[in-house]
Subunit: 250 residues, 2 copies
């Protein structure tokens, strides 16, 4: 049995707590947050607002904001006997404990949308190989896919994630705006959005690229620029078109 204390109650904490419910041999023995209110929804668990009351555990999983990780980690007692792992994409492996680790799930989490841990990549970094094995087992019990990723690589992954998640979502927003301006429902674009994402499971993005920029279809590009009234979206269109054409050598 691996006893786990979860520190933090945000989206990632929430989904790990839910995920661990169905994993035998992993037991969430306590949830910590400094404000009582955020612990209310976890009343089926032992909870605390005091680091001094933290239970002994095999794993402390730090799911707090990036700039609070160091502080929370330092306050954990028993650290020499436990693995202390944070779950952040952009914070390096801590150097405060003997058994520091990173357990970074590469996914976008929202509280009100269920997440499947099946096949979800979990990037693990540890100082000791034996700790890596412990964390790998936990990840595998969740059905996740384990990658050994060091701090430098993880920072690059986090950057890549900004492009394929945050920036992509913003382009969905632009599509939404264009539809809204012409009284068209955004729903009409959703099957296209889904298919575009699914395509890269069978093709590389370079192979999957289509559209006027790729074809060098200047008259369509010009008409699109004329259609865009918002000068900011116009710039964005121009910029992304140039970026595609650099790769496809126009």
């Amino acid at each position: 049995m691996v006893n786990v204390v979860i520190l933090g109650t945000g989206n990632v904490a929430y989904h790990f707590i839910n995920g661990f419910k169905s994993v035998k041999d992993v037991d969430v023995v306590q949830i910590y947050n400094h404000t009582p209110r955020s612990l209310e929804i976890f009343n089926a668990y032992d909870t605390t607002t005091q680091v001094s009351e933290l239970k002994t555990a095999d794993l402390y999983l730090i799911c707090v904001k990036d700039d609070k990780i160091q502080e929370v980690a330092k306050s954990i007692p028993f650290s020499a006997q436990a693995v202390v792992a944070h779950v952040s994409g952009s914070v390096p492996l801590l150097k405060t404990h003997h058994r520091d680790a990173v357990f970074y799930p590469l996914q976008t989490f929202s509280k009100d949308k269920a997440i499947s841990f099946k096949d979800l990549p979990i990037c693990i970094e540890t100082e000791k190989q034996s700790d890596f094995d412990v964390l790998r087992k936990i990840a595998e019990r969740l059905g996740s896919k384990v990658y050994a990723v060091n701090s430098k690589q993880r920072q690059e992954l986090h950057l890549a994630a900004v492009f394929v998640c945050n920036f992509v979502n913003h382009l969905y927003q632009v599509g939404n705006d264009i539809c809204a301006q012409k009284n068209l429902p955004f729903d009409i674009l959703k099957p296209l959005i889904k298919e575009t994402a699914e395509k890269i499971f069978t093709k590389t993005p370079l192979e999957a690229q289509t559209g006027p920029a790729k074809r060098g279809d200047d008259s369509t590009i010009q008409r699109h620029l004329d259609q865009l009234k918002d000068s900011h979206y116009k710039d964005l269109y121009r910029y992304l078109t140039t970026s595609i054409q650099k790769l496809h050598e126009f």
Copy 2:
């Protein structure tokens, strides 16, 4: 029974021909293309390279490149008795026939990837209401979702599709490049890409927006800019960050 002649043999033609196979009451009676080679894979059908040999049909579905649509449409005989529909997102309703129409499937098609017509949006425009009804029935038999979309709206949809499909795919490419530079497999990003697309089925893109730009997390933004060695990707990062912050009022 609706007899259909397909003009063109590209991706859209290919998928319509396949889709119609399972639709009773719709019969593809002929496939036209001006080059014999492109007709070879359709040898189960009656094919022709000559417009003068086109069969009489209820519907001529023009699936050729945008700049050839007008020319192909003009060459179709029997037009007064048939619906002549093109399938393009960016070409307006033709004015060459009495029964001109548009039958535009809003999706990205590749020859080597099966497409489900179920729930796929098909945007229909016709001069006559009776022709709209004919095309709606065909789309519904394919399991597709029918939208009445006029030429002006369709041009906007086509523009929106460039943002949510072509430009989004390019951002996948940037993610792929960042991974490749650090010897990380692109596979590691795929569950995130999938989830990001799925999220907008339950949230608006504005609600779904996450990341350093949205949070106003300047230190992460600066570190990401430092990480990007390619000045072009650096500009793209900066531009998209500004664009998100304009919407989220930083």
